[in-house]
């Protein structure tokens, strides 16, 4: 039951290639850390794993860049940013 809530994660740039612009990942009501979120995404979406493996993908939560230890909860506005290209 704790896993029945979910988080919609927007995938930016080339991260959108395997699964489209967003994926939904199950999340406990209490949330998890950003580091754990990345593990869940890898497990749920194996095609994302090689892109996440670089360690350069950053998580944006509620329009702010998040750290590994930041807690993400269901309903947060979440996005994965690959390295930027610049303008």
């Amino acid at each position: 039951m704790a896993e029945q809530l979910a988080l919609v994660v927007e995938l930016c740039g080339k991260l959108a290639e395997p699964h489209g612009r967003e994926v939904t990942v199950p999340l406990p009501a209490a949330g998890c850390t950003v580091a754990e979120l990345l593990v869940r995404l890898r497990d749920s979406f194996p095609a994302l794993a090689p892109l996440l493996a670089s360690g350069k993908v950053r998580v944006c939560l509620n329009e702010t860049m998040a750290r590994d230890e930041t807690v993400v909860r269901p309903g947060d506005l979440a996005a994965l940013f690959p390295p930027v290209s610049g303008g």
Binding site: C12, S85, G87
Partner: protein
């Protein structure tokens, strides 16, 4: 003092922006502008159909505003304007426009140069070139990285 930053979803006219900026900054003496246009060919000479810039509006705008604020902190400029398009850009269309106004031309030149170096490497965009052969994601070039490093080197002077 003014620092205008805009993220645009459609075409804009760099000359009209310069006219507007010049009217605003008429007291400043020196005005520099930079316009970046979408290329019609990729590095290998393949014809491009479009350049697509993806942004994440709030964070992208904040990254641009941070770069503009740093330029005002670093150079004696009175006014700046930074316009950047997102979305699908056709060859020959303007992607980016930067203008700076200062009492002395060196500050205006350096601030515009600095703004472009940082925008090209640090602004939150993901871009891809589209051609008949498909799409290719673009990352900052070695030249972009070297250009950006010039400013860090000067900070340590």
């Amino acid at each position: 003092m003014s620092a205008v930053v805009r993220l645009l979803d459609g075409p804009f006219d760099p000359a009209a922006e310069l006219a507007d900026f010049t009217a605003l900054a008429a007291g400043a003496g020196a005005i520099v502008s930079f316009t970046g246009l979408a290329r019609s060919e990729d590095r290998d000479g393949m014809a491009l159909t479009a350049l697509v810039l993806e942004s994440y509006r709030s964070v992208t705008l904040r990254s641009m505003e941070g770069i503009a604020a740093a330029a005002h902190a670093r150079f004696a400029i009175a006014h700046s304007r930074v316009l950047h398009r997102a979305g699908r850009i056709l060859p020959g269309e303007a992607i980016v426009f930067v203008a700076t106004a200062a009492a002395h031309r060196r500050a205006a030149f350096e601030a515009a140069d600095y703004l472009m170096d940082r925008l090209k490497s640090e602004a939150v965009f993901w871009k891809r070139e589209e051609s008949v052969a498909g799409a290719r994601w673009i990352e900052p070039t070695a030249a972009d990285t070297a250009d950006l490093a010039r400013w860090h080197a000067r900070e340590q002077d």
